[in-house]
């Protein structure tokens, strides 16, 4: 496992290549999880808590990284540990459990950051649900465009379209389809009410 470096993790997670991303996510999990589990267990948590907290921390890290919203002034391990610590502290507060934890340092991401990133409203959940029902090509194009913020030229290259206009048209069609499905889903929900 120690052949993985922070640079490799960052580069692989930023890559739009899904296989490379998955490999990096798995390697990160196996590489850092034992230590995080140890931390949560030593601070009144269970193994289930540890897995949940750590998985959410990776999701936050990954999202911020891909959205270029991450200023990493420390190692990935230190960053993940900070998110886990803050999130666990916040969970403990919510549970009103009295466990003495070390105070979070000033450089660490705040609880607010973590919670806001994970918090999604109902309409966004609906978009996510509908996206999951769409065909793979549409889903990929929309994710490349809206999440990875890739340019049409790059999307065309990744999807093996003949040119960027094809990618642009595909994105428009998929977005229209997404909206139709959301509308239909909304109507169905209203009918059921």
């Amino acid at each position: 496992m120690s052949q993985y470096t922070d640079e490799w993790f960052l580069e692989s997670l930023r890559s739009p290549d899904e296989r490379l991303r998955d490999e990096a996510l798995k390697a990160m999990y196996f590489h850092f999880y034992p230590k995080m589990e140890d931390y949560i267990l030593r601070n009144s948590g269970t193994k289930v808590d540890a897995a949940d907290v750590f998985q959410d921390a990776i999701v936050v890290f990954f999202t911020k990284l891909v959205k270029h919203d991450l200023q990493l002034n420390c190692s990935i391990y230190t960053y993940l540990r900070s998110i886990c610590r803050n999130r666990w502290l916040s969970d403990l507060r919510l549970q009103k459990r009295t466990t003495e934890l070390e105070p979070a340092s000033q450089e660490q991401p705040s609880d607010e950051d973590v919670l806001q990133t994970l918090l999604k409203d109902e309409q966004e959940k609906m978009v996510a649900k509908v996206l999951g029902q769409m065909g793979e090509d549409c889903r990929k194009v929309l994710i490349f465009y809206y999440f990875d913020k890739l340019r049409m030229k790059k999307i065309a290259e990744l999807m093996r379209y003949s040119n960027e206009q094809v990618a642009r048209n595909k994105k428009s069609t998929c977005l229209r389809r997404l909206r139709e499905l959301i509308l239909r889903s909304d109507e169905l929900t209203n009918e059921l009410k």
Partner: protein, 255 residues
Amino acid sequence: MKASNHSDQQLDDYIFGRMSAEERETFERQLAQDDGLKEALVKQRKVHGGIEAYLQASVKSKLQGYHQEWEKQQTPSPRFPRKYIWFIAAALLLLSLLFVLLLPSSASNEKMYAQYFEPYPMQLGDRSQDPSDWMRQLEDQYTKQNYAAALQILQAQAETTQKEKKWLLYLGICQLESDQITAALSSFEQFEENDPVYWYEANWYAALAHLKAGQSAEAKKKLNILLAHPNAHYDADARRILDALFHSTTSPISN
């Protein structure tokens, strides 16, 4: 969903921050006057957020799968109703004892312990020549590997030694070499991950303690923790022990 005079592209460019200052100003002026545009922008933001939520859920689901794989690589611990736990724990303890006593793998763990254990060097600097100086006595006993005697000295000086973590490390090592493994583990567990100097050492000796006790799974866990924090002094040995444990295990481990 869309305001009549605005394209998705404009909404996306605004959300992505891809507009020039002038375009942005014009767009925001229109936004203030056009409720339809405002609504379209809100909905477009939901599309952006929803796609992000989809991807986050997908990543989380993958991570849950990786977690299951990781758990499989550790010693499996099936879940039983609470009322049976003590019974099962007792049976497991008995089996573990038999395992430690009878099976060759425990003997090989012992052998590995003997191979890899080295006392952490005691460098207390210039001690007084006074033979009654406890530190001098401790250093003498420790370097002669009279760990039981060194342990007694440390325990007698508990009030002083509790103030510094290095004494705790030596205490754990003396307990380990005096076959007080539970006490040794308890000493090593007191090192927080942020302890600047002795955390690696404490984890290393804790791994050896588990090895000595024939607790391969726990030893592996500690060694994996060490490897997650590269440290030139311990990495090669930790990897070698893990390899040896992997090959000596009787049950297959999936990768």
